[in-house]
């Protein structure tokens, strides 16, 4: 198990850092927010990312992919986390691409994955139906009628929902209200009649939307995987997503922490640098220890996706739970240690604070993942 980056991955990190610093700094997110940008990210930026291979980073070469695996992806996501770069990378290139890769038939993969790879197709997973992550609580129905499905129901917190070309909708075609059996994944064009989309403006100024489906007609061949067997695709897709968002959160936490340490070394109070106060030194040192632990957890989870995917579930929950806690601690401390200027919008620290709270909700909060980790460990 690789817990250090190889030469290729280090190169990828340097390229990503350089590119994002120039084209997607935190100031770019501020600009998107202040301009009430209707898309919520820059399509030109996404096209450039695709040209560098980021949209296809986890895809095999057979589908036009870069085939760098999750360790490679993690490197890029961490850098995106550092600048809070808004892009379809997570929803399309991680979650959507994983769903197609793990669930799609050869025809679907050959038709769609090259479009993901070249940046021309964006995707969104329409999963959640309640305000807490609950991937088996699915009441959206799809009734089979000869050659097509008829969809009815609602979804919320659909990341990139309002901008994605296609949705992967988790529907119930059998089983009981909360059972893993009876779930089905359907590919639905976002502009299909009866798909009602409403963008939601979240604290992090990134993309999410709510959906209502009213008698939406979907061709039968749009099923991903087998009918009623969707859970066998959905669970590994969610775990890949959890690890990926943990990597992004790692980058955001590192950036907020490093900016705070820099501030402790610059800011004078009572005739001394505030970083010389032992009370603050201990708090900073405590965070450094947490960060090193979390870095190992994320690296292990990323390389498990590549090398031993059957061992992923507990490691994905461990990574998401740990990074949720780290994100909360570091952003709270960053604001407190920056003092009065930390709470102003003029400083970028607030952007990290607000992004952390949204990221903490993506694919499971701390409680969800501690509970899942305990259950998977036999408790």
């Amino acid at each position: 198990m690789a817990l250090v980056l190889n030469e290729e991955q280090r190169l990828l990190r340097d390229t990503a850092k350089d590119f994002l610093g120039k084209h997607a700094p935190v100031a770019a997110l501020r600009q998107l927010r202040d301009a009430h940008d209707p898309i919520g990210y820059s399509p030109e930026l996404w096209q450039q990312m695709a040209e560098m291979g980021w949209a296809s980073i986890i895809l095999p070469e057979a589908y036009g992919g870069l085939d760098f695996g999750f360790l490679g992806l993690g490197v890029v996501l961490e850098e995106c986390g550092r600048t809070l770069a808004a892009s379809p990378l997570f929803a399309t290139a991680v979650v959507g691409a994983s769903a197609l890769l793990l669930g799609g038939n050869e025809e679907q993969k050959h038709a769609l994955l090259p479009c993901v790879a070249d940046g021309s197709l964006t995707l969104a997973l329409a999963l959640e139906e309640t305000h807490h992550h609950n991937p088996t609580f699915i009441t959206t129905t799809a009734k089979i009628q000869s050659e097509h499905f008829v969809l009815n129901g609602s979804k919320c917190f659909v990341l990139d929902g309002h901008s994605a070309d296609k949705l992967i909708v988790v529907v119930r075609t059998g089983g009981t209200e909360r059972s893993t059996a009876g779930l089905t994944l359907l590919l639905v064009d976002r502009d299909t009649p009866g798909v009602n989309c409403r963008r939601t403006l979240m604290a992090d100024s990134r993309n999410a939307a709510n959906f209502r489906f009213d008698n939406v007609v979907v061709p039968a061949e749009n099923v991903l995987g087998a009918i009623n067997q969707g859970w066998s695709i959905l669970e590994p897709v969610l775990d890949r997503g959890r690890v990926a968002i943990a990597a992004e959160m790692m980058g955001s936490a590192l950036e907020a922490f490093e900016r705070t340490v820099t501030y402790l070394k610059e800011r004078e109070q009572f005739g001394a640098l505030i970083g010389s106060f032992q009370a603050l030194q201990h708090r900073a040192a405590h965070m450094q220890a947490d960060i090193e632990l979390c870095r190992s957890v994320v690296l292990q989870a990323l390389s498990t996706v590549d090398d031993a995917p059957h061992q992923l579930p507990p490691l994905a929950s461990l990574a998401k739970a740990k990074l949720n806690e780290l994100a909360k601690l570091v952003t709270n401390e960053a604001v407190q240690m920056h003092g009065g200027i930390g709470v102003t919008d003029a400083l970028e620290i607030g952007f990290f604070l607000k992004r952390a709270r949204v990221a903490m909700q993506i694919f499971g909060d701390t409680g969800y993942h501690k509970d899942r980790y305990a259950t998977l460990s036999g408790y």
């Binding site: 409403r198 939601t200 992090d204 909360k328 709270n332 407190q336 009065g340 930390g342 909060d365």
Partner: protein, 75 residues
């Protein structure tokens, strides 16, 4: 000193708890899709961060409690 410290830290903890309970409904910033109460909860959470900084930060209050109440020696 103790009141300021305990009161503002409790307010901050309460706001974090409310956000955890509300889940994805607790991170709405503006516009449709959230109730006014949900948006207010997030705005109050953001404001609560200033309470432990303004008017003598929590760190200053702890210094005062240590030095004035407990009469611990200064470093």
């Amino acid at each position: 000193m103790v009141m300021k410290y305990v009161g503002t830290e409790a307010e901050k903890a309460k706001s974090e708890l409310l956000l955890s309970i509300l889940g994805t409904r607790g991170v709405g910033w503006e516009g449709k899709g959230f109730t006014l109460q949900e948006i207010d909860t997030l705005r109050l959470w953001a404001m609560s961060k200033a309470l432990t900084i303004a008017g003598g930060s929590s760190e200053i209050q702890l210094n005062l409690i240590a030095q004035k109440v407990l009469e611990l020696p200064q470093s």
